[in-house]
Symmetry: D2
Subunit: 173 residues, 4 copies
Amino acid sequence: MIILNGASSSGKSGIVRCLQSLLPDLWLAFGCDSFVDALPAKAQTSDGGIVVDADGGVTVGEDFRRLEAAWTEGVVTMARAGAGIIVDDVFLGGAASQQRWRKALGDLPALWVGVHCDPAVAAAREIARGDRTPGMAARQALVVHEGVEYDLRVDTTHTESLECARTIAAHVT
Amino acid sequence: MIILNGASSSGKSGIVRCLQSLLPDLWLAFGCDSFVDALPAKAQTSDGGIVVDADGGVTVGEDFRRLEAAWTEGVVTMARAGAGIIVDDVFLGGAASQQRWRKALGDLPALWVGVHCDPAVAAAREIARGDRTPGMAARQALVVHEGVEYDLRVDTTHTESLECARTIAAHVT
Amino acid sequence: MIILNGASSSGKSGIVRCLQSLLPDLWLAFGCDSFVDALPAKAQTSDGGIVVDADGGVTVGEDFRRLEAAWTEGVVTMARAGAGIIVDDVFLGGAASQQRWRKALGDLPALWVGVHCDPAVAAAREIARGDRTPGMAARQALVVHEGVEYDLRVDTTHTESLECARTIAAHVT
Amino acid sequence: MIILNGASSSGKSGIVRCLQSLLPDLWLAFGCDSFVDALPAKAQTSDGGIVVDADGGVTVGEDFRRLEAAWTEGVVTMARAGAGIIVDDVFLGGAASQQRWRKALGDLPALWVGVHCDPAVAAAREIARGDRTPGMAARQALVVHEGVEYDLRVDTTHTESLECARTIAAHVT
């Protein structure tokens, strides 16, 4: 199991797709985006769900946290059942978010990867992709890494996704 | 846990979104589409993955089956952990596909829903949606229900998704 | 040139895709969705652009109207240059919106098609598709047809998109 | 009117979205992607349409060329009618493709921008985006610029989309 943590627009998804291309077997990819897609549309306008403010601030409620915990357990079960799993997440809670995964993982090994990106560059890429609320990238850029321990860090500021993925894949096989 | 089974273009996704809107809590939705999205792009051109022929025939390989089994276990774990889960699946193997879920479910109760649709109508809707290989709907229309046991059947031929979802929701709450 | 007018979630896009499948040549499809996609992301949060309220009300500003007029002229030019064109639009201004197209068309003939749908059914389909602000379908259902003259009307309440498209195609070839 | 030409995965779309964000007014964006979206689904499996080979080679037929010519005229008409227009195109025919636009433009001024990218970097980004047939980027990287004259060239190999867009915007306002 590979767990990537990085802020919005730091380049996680591109790295995940490159990893899926590079790794010899078929690895499944899950992440906060696919989790949010699994939620009802109404979760994005309810206090218990996940609300993105006009300035890119993200607030998640109790229902979100409860479902996320169940989802985390389920994803770990898939890995335990023998599937190669790549997760990309945004540790809004920093070290506490990592702890949530660690608790679910138990003795299952994971490769922890920090995906870093210069906040100004991430903010520029946020404008270029056009599908995120401006401000999210800069707000999350540093806070998601606070207190998190990694086996490996990659930085997408000057390095292409494929190159970052090669570095990660070298630790897997 | 609610498990919907029906052919491609039978109207499962619409029913799922209506169920997520109708049900009082936030329910997570997973299905064969989200599973395929989690696979590497290369899975769609490899023997071990999932290949869709030009006439809409779908062939899945051993790697697909192995990962699907792990995914099934993981989704059941999410339900066991307390999340309301709606699954929409295409039982290409009919009764054998149901058996795969039953094995993973163990003693966890599930509401089994058959989503039926007149094959000609499903084929017409396949053209209207425009994002599926023509032929898939008609090929799968009957075979996916062979030998499958349901608590409930809905038919989208003349009934709107929301109405079908109301019937299903009445069995849940 | 074929111009379809109908409210949000009345089934225009499905009919357009069926028409493109049925008609012997390759016809180009444009519509309010592709026009909005061509606008900057910031148009959806600016007074001059297009703002969708939480209850599904749509307000368009002067910049939107000015660009829409230019776009309308351009689409008519494509038809004049010999391309088969299918337009699907939402005549928020009713007869005035039709007049905008007529002015651009000049002597170029067009087949005017009204796409009707029972407001309650359209509202149900709006929930089933899940990507529109609830309320838009019901609000627009009747107003978009006010004072508009058609060569042909189709009703998607009980008729599949493909069947509606067949009726329209019979008037073209 | 701004016309960007560059190979697949050279970074055109990101630059377009940044330009739309930077430029003071609302500019409309059209391009080969939105043109292909306007074509029937069947155009991608017909000789007259646009066929992408398994190795990323693109072949376009006579119907495609005819419709593209009509579309080009229409887009120029929108600019003539006063709309700010940004086009991103892939000049598969090099200088001949530019000539097609010049003929449609007549005396209407345009800013010609070449979007360059190191072929190996474009190929890496093609893997990272995951939605293009691998091989397309490398095949097109050089050929699309053959004989084309530009007012301005940007290179996305080491420069972010937003920075490229700033350079272009400085030539507009």
